[in-house]
């Protein structure tokens, strides 16, 4: 009987320790997701040109990260999270391509990109004059369009390196490719954007 009680006590103590660890992990995950969610949303939004779709993609990425990688170390979360998000964006583009083909076959245009209003979707920066806001909006609008028109891998490399601030190794982990490929994609993206944006950015 005493053996049973001792076993039960050990089990409860072990459960409590696990609970505390899980609570700590939850707080760390919460901090990580809070720090990354807005940037992730904007990155997804630029990639899919739809805020609602971007919100869905970010939420799915957050859920998958928590479900599958909560036990990984903190410094692994950012590349893993962005890898999930980028996979989601790629899947979304594939689905859109199939959907567009089906719509064309049925005689309807499946291109909803025309419905995307960059100005309406643009955020309202705080603490600046209307002129500065307008300038910033216009510049960001131009940049978003240019980034959105980049080839997929170049767009991923540019956004992860420039917008999210991941290093080459982290970007390579997020994109699932070599560091050399990241450098190549990023360099091509920057040159392409500079050519596209021209004198606005000189």
């Amino acid at each position: 009987m005493s053996a049973c009680v001792a076993e039960f006590a050990v089990s409860c103590e072990s459960g409590n320790r696990t609970g505390v660890r899980t609570l700590q992990r939850e707080q760390e995950l919460n901090r990580f997701l809070t720090g990354v969610e807005k940037r992730a949303l904007r990155i997804a939004e630029i990639a899919v040109r739809d805020r609602d779709e971007a919100l869905d993609l970010v939420q799915v990425a957050m859920i998958k990260l928590v479900q599958k990688y909560a036990d990984r170390s903190d410094d692994e979360w950012a590349p893993l999270f962005y890898r999930i998000l980028q996979n989601g964006v790629r899947d979304w583009h594939r689905r859109q391509a199939v959907r567009n083909k089906v719509m064309v076959w049925f005689g309807r245009s499946g291109d909803d990109d025309k419905d995307y209003d960059v100005v309406a979707s643009a955020p309202d920066p705080a603490g600046r004059t209307p002129d500065e806001q307008l300038q910033s909006h216009e510049a960001m609008q131009t940049l978003e369009i240019a980034v959105g028109e980049l080839p997929g891998r170049q767009r991923e490399a540019f956004m992860l390196r420039t917008f999210e601030g991941l290093d080459v190794a982290g970007t390579a982990a997020a994109m699932g490719c070599s560091q050399g490929s990241v450098k190549t994609h990023y360099s091509r993206a920057v040159h392409s954007l500079r050519d596209t944006l021209g004198e606005h950015w000189q």
Partner: protein, 130 residues
């Protein structure tokens, strides 16, 4: 423009793009931030769900483990029956022994030895003694 100037321009371009992006992130409207917050809470709830399942089953698992442990201890403390395994081993030895096969061949002879001519009955072991 040489390569170094080109790299500097690339860096400046990236910094400018980053600044614009940061501004757009900071300017996200409250409704969007609220939806992000709800999404984050839903994701974290997945972690809690997993933990709740574990916490829910932990006492039952503990009691079950304790019961199994107790049964193992109780079984181990019982006095061992020394004869049962030995008997079965002996049976095995008898069956495999060459003598027993010979005895089976001469079964008729052994039956004749055991037969008592006077009583017509088979001799019991105590009858043979003495």
């Amino acid at each position: 423009m040489n390569e170094r100037d080109d790299m500097t321009t690339d860096t400046e371009f990236a910094q400018q793009a980053r600044q614009l992006f940061d501004d757009s992130v900071e300017g996200l409207d409250a409704a969007t931030c609220s939806r992000l917050n709800r999404g984050r809470q839903a994701a974290l709830a997945e972690l809690n769900t997993g933990r709740r399942v574990w916490v829910q089953w932990a006492p039952a698992a503990g009691v079950a483990a304790a019961a199994v442990f107790a049964v193992v201890l109780w079984t181990g403390s019982q006095p061992a029956d020394e004869f049962t395994p030995q008997a079965s081993a002996t049976d095995f030895e008898i069956l495999l022994a060459e003598d027993s096969l010979e005895m089976l061949e001469d079964l008729e002879f052994y039956s004749w030895i055991d037969f008592d001519d006077e009583t017509g009955a088979t001799l019991q072991p105590e009858d043979k003694v003495g």
